[in-house]
């Protein structure tokens, strides 16, 4: 039965068979195969939504997993979620209980284990020294995530910003710094208000401050990791940069001349 089904009444609403067809689609996961005019109509029709939802609610517990043929839909391989979301939650919880400790153990820093110290670090272009990871406090999985480049922000750093970007911005891209009191500086013409935002490697904003005077020094310590920073005016970002915090707040200040 390949032709457009006769499933509407004189008013253009779904008749009983049309409602049944839509509910079949919901039960079988084939809503994308419904005729366009049905999907469009139902999306905008309160009455039809009421009927479809009402019938679906009645048949919610009916098992359609054994349906192997349908007069209108081409049935795909059974989706795994028909097993019930609770089953997958249970499986995921068990996997998490087993895998995460195993991962933490595998990635844990053991004294003298040099191989583990290279995990997750990046080397900025032109930076000849590959910074060693800090001696671990806390799970190494978290540290590894802290040093993993964020693809979108890497692209933004690489792409640069508007031509009226900040001049002489520091920290320079790829700088390796201590985590305490990071100093930001730049030159820019114009007097619009700017905001400094620091973003961690997983894309979360962790620091934001209106820039009043330069240089600006952060009032909070940063944990070891890769960070991105941006400067935004009232409309958009005008600069993207990145730096790495090597060790904890008590690490000696960087030897990078730009930071002196």
């Amino acid at each position: 039965m390949n032709e457009t089904p006769d499933v509407t009444d004189d008013g253009g609403h779904l008749n009983d068979e049309g409602v049944a067809l839509f509910v079949d689609a919901l039960k079988l996961g084939t809503a994308d195969q419904l005729p366009e005019f049905i999907r469009t109509h139902v999306a905008e029709c309160d009455a039809c939504q009421h009927n479809v939802t009402g019938l679906f609610a009645l048949l919610r517990k009916e098992d359609y997993s054994g349906v192997e043929r349908h007069p209108y839909f081409r049935l795909r391989k059974r989706k795994l979620r028909t097993a019930g979301p609770w089953l997958w939650r249970a499986a995921a919880a068990i996997a998490a209980l087993v895998l995460i400790p195993a991962l933490v153990y595998y990635l844990s820093v053991r004294p003298g284990s040099e191989d583990l110290r290279r995990t997750g670090l990046t080397t900025a272009p032109g930076d000849s020294s590959a910074p060693a990871p800090p001696a671990g406090e806390g799970p190494q999985t978290e540290l590894a995530a802290n040093f993993t480049p964020h693809p979108e922000y890497e692209a933004l750093v690489t792409a640069g910003t508007r031509s009226t970007a900040l001049k002489g911005a520091t920290p320079v891209n790829g700088a390796v710094l201590g985590g305490s009191g990071i100093r930001f500086d730049w030159r820019r013409e114009g007097s619009e208000r700017l905001t400094l935002v620091i973003i961690n490697a997983v894309g979360r904003d962790i620091y934001s401050a209106r820039i009043v005077t330069l240089p600006h020094t952060t009032g909070r310590d940063l944990e070891p990791g890769l960070y991105y920073w941006k400067v935004v005016d009232e409309q958009e970002a005008v600069h993207f940069g990145k730096f790495t915090v090597r060790d904890g707040p008590h690490f000696p200040r960087s030897t990078n001349p730009a930071q002196k």
Partner: protein
Amino acid sequence: MPRLPDPDFEIFLKDPNAILLKYQGLIQAIVHIYVEQGMFSPTQKEDVIQSVNLEILRKIPSLQRHYNGSALLRTYFSAIVRNICLQLKRTTGSPLLLIRNDMESDVEGGRQHDRYSIQQARDVFEAILVQLGPVLPKLLICLKLRYRYPLTRRDIQRWWPACGGREKARLLEMFGGDYGNMIDKEIHPLIVPYFNAAEGKVSGADALRKWQASKIQKILKLLQEAIPGSSFDEESLQILFEDYLSPFLLRE
């Protein structure tokens, strides 16, 4: 798998009584749900089942003429049973019963708190979202912004397939991370230009707020209609939405 006629279709044409017998479990299950929801009293259950059977027997010639075989017969049959039950409720004039003596239920101050499962609400919520079809990608964006969930590339791609790379990057920069400290008044002016660009029109933040509010109210109304005795509000909608986004649910 190819499209093939429902085997029950042929049986229905040749021997409808056999189909009625086959679907007795379905009839009982639907009537039971309506009894649980308070549409009928438990003592009426058998009478309702009998009435449904009699009505179906009376309608069989008409059903045979109108049913095209596009949908599964069991689903179509269920729609007919639903209609008959709703008609019975209307014609008998009995209001929703507030006190049930032999059902497990909470009775407090003369009002009854009907039970429904959270899973039921989740399933119905998802069914409602599917019905919204063409507007769903936009609605998902709106709900994510409303409840401060990060937007993803996939969200943007589904809502605005023609979105350019620069616009996508800006959207992700603004809303792809943690923007929980932003208030609605900050978010709407930022997102409205992108909605306008995606839809090729010019609307303000108010129009977007009204559209969003109307869709949320529609969802809440459908939930409450589908699950009589339930009460859904914005907070429960957020819970359902969070569950909908749950990574534990395998989706396409």
